[in-house]
């Protein structure tokens, strides 16, 4: 692409084939998906999730088995749900949603998505700030912190947020390329950091790793004030942390380029590098920090990585946080811009960046990342259930698929009711029955399927 291409032209090129199926000559092979998934799922969040498992008292056996089974379930969801529908329809989630639910519903969905993107980007700005603050001897946030508690933190977060926002306004393409370049190096730093600190934990050869893992790293005892995580927590978290992407169907936009649905299995590179090796590595680093700091409640990925492998570790935290925050911020801007396409992209991104940076000042966004990631998937899951039913089963039940497009409606009431009822059901399950957020996705999906069929029968009879 030419260097002097305008931002609008670049946005147009991003939107290519959004309103039509992908032509056959634009389909991509295995290698493209292996690389994309490996790059996308080794990110700034990995520096937080692995340590939070340690803080929540996961035992070594629960962690390893939970991650293996949860990651396998995630890969199967990508292949059998998302990739099959992507290859069958070859359109984006947004296009398909417009056909099924109508333009007004898609707008509401975009806004909700944008809000969630902002909080995710905010947590990554905060993660990067923990590394940027090292040379300034900044006071780091604590595991129990909710509100910002010192001026240095707020100033550092604003500095990182400002740079991230400016780059998101002008340089999405370059950031995307930079992220692809950084991905193999980041994986190496994760592995290297864990290997380099193992002797300090008492692991002197591979044979002694497991006994140290059980007795010292993942002891099974949660930190003060943290809930206890068992096998099922880990399994469901690993399965549903990307629920928005697979069961929620956001990755239709990516997998519609696949020649065969089996390419959905390439997501295994992402989950087993990012959601297995990187989570285990960052957990090892945090465990060492806890021991050497005698149980300090400070929770800051930057200093932890710096202590393990020096400047390379601190750079890795900044790069990982920034390369996750930047495209997320940009996507949030595009989603909000869908309200009124006349708005200037840079102005929308500036507004979104400011909101995100203010949110990033609250350490709770990082400390509650597990709950937030689960909530993110849960909120977008009902739409995935609707798409699954609409593509596969609705016509077999004698009902009309793509109802909004066929009836000319801008808001398919069946989809809106499905979304609302499913989320209220999940909320009640949480509040009344005490079911934790990590487990709500599975019953919620079946409720969404049932409600959509019943609502469609009633709605389409009218």
């Amino acid at each position: 692409m030419k260097k002097n291409t305008s931002l609008v032209a670049r946005l147009n090129s991003v939107n290519e084939y959004e309103q039509q199926p992908i032509p056959t000559n634009k389909l991509k092979g295995w290698r493209s998906f292996l690389g994309t998934y490996a790059g996308e799922h080794t990110a700034g969040t990995e520096f937080v999730i692995g340590p939070l498992f340690v803080a929540h008292g996961a035992s070594a056996i629960d962690l390893v088995t939970g991650l293996i089974f949860g990651n396998i379930l995630a890969v199967l969801s990508w292949a059998f749900l998302t990739a099959k529908i992507a290859v069958k329809t070859r359109v984006t989630l947004y296009y398909l949603l417009e056909q099924i639910a109508g333009k007004r519903f898609t707008l509401i969905y975009n806004l909700v998505n944008a809000g969630l993107f902002c909080f995710l980007a905010g947590s990554m700005i905060a993660v990067a700030a923990t590394a940027v603050g090292i040379p300034f001897d900044m006071a780091m946030p604590q595991l129990t912190d909710i509100y910002p508690n010192n001026l240095g933190w707020v100033v550092t977060v604003f500095a990182v947020g400002t740079i991230t926002t400016i780059i998101a306004m002008f340089g999405f393409e370059q950031v995307s390329k930079f992220a692809m370049v950084a991905a193999p190096w980041m994986i190496m730093v994760f592995i290297a950091a864990a290997l380099a600190v193992l002797p300090r934990l008492g692991v002197t050869d591979l044979g002694s790793f497991w006994s140290v893992a059980e007795s010292t790293i993942w002891t099974g005892v949660p930190l003060e004030g943290q809930s206890k995580f068992g096998f099922w927590h880990i399994l469901f978290f690993a399965w549903f942390c990307n629920m928005a992407m697979h069961i929620g169907m956001a990755d239709l936009s990516l997998l519609r380029y696949a020649k065969k649905w089996e390419y959905g299995f390439s997501s295994a590179t992402g989950v087993f590098l990012g959601h297995f090796i990187a989570w285990i590595a960052s957990g090892i680093l945090y465990s060492l920090f806890l021991i050497e700091s005698e149980g300090s409640l400070t929770f800051a990925p930057g200093p932890i990585a710096y202590s393990a492998v020096g400047v390379a570790g601190a750079i890795c935290v900044v790069v990982a946080g920034w390369t996750t925050a930047n495209p997320t911020l940009y996507r949030a801007g595009l989603a909000i811009q869908s309200i009124n396409p006349q708005w200037k992209t840079w102005k929308v991104t500036l507004f979104v960046g400011l909101f995100t940076t203010i949110a990033a000042c609250f350490p709770a966004l990082v400390m509650m990342l597990l709950e937030f990631v689960a909530l993110y998937g849960l909120i977008l899951m009902p739409v995935g259930a609707v798409i699954f039913m609409d593509v596969y089963l609705l016509e077999k039940m004698g009902l009309q698929s793509n109802y909004a497009a066929v009836s000319g409606s801008s808001l398919n009431g069946s989809v809106a009711v499905t979304w609302l009822v499913t989320l209220v059901f999940c909320l009640l399950l949480n509040l009344v029955a005490g079911v934790e957020i990590f487990f709500l996705g599975l019953p919620g999906w079946f409720v969404a399927v049932l409600v959509y069929v019943v609502a469609s029968k009633i709605n389409q009879k009218k």
């Binding site: 390329k177 370049v181 193999p184 290297a192 950091a193 380099a196 492998v309 020096g310 400047v311 390379a312």
Partner: protein
């Protein structure tokens, strides 16, 4: 030829990122040396890798 040299330098950079840590694990290198070599590897990777990785992306997009 230029691309091969660039790739070689990039992979040396990646090697410098991971091999010192393996040597620390096997008690054949001290932590400070490992940190310095990892930083060197990081610089080498980010200086050389964009020159051939992005070129490859552009070529595959055109193809």
């Amino acid at each position: 030829m230029k691309k091969i040299i660039l790739k070689l330098l990039s992979f040396i950079g990646l090697g410098l990122t991971i091999i010192p840590a393996i040597l620390v694990f096997s008690a054949e290198m001290d932590t400070d040396t490992c940190k310095q070599l990892m930083f060197l590897g990081t610089v080498l990777w980010f200086v050389t890798a964009p020159l051939w990785m992005n070129e490859k992306d552009a070529a595959s997009e055109e193809g």
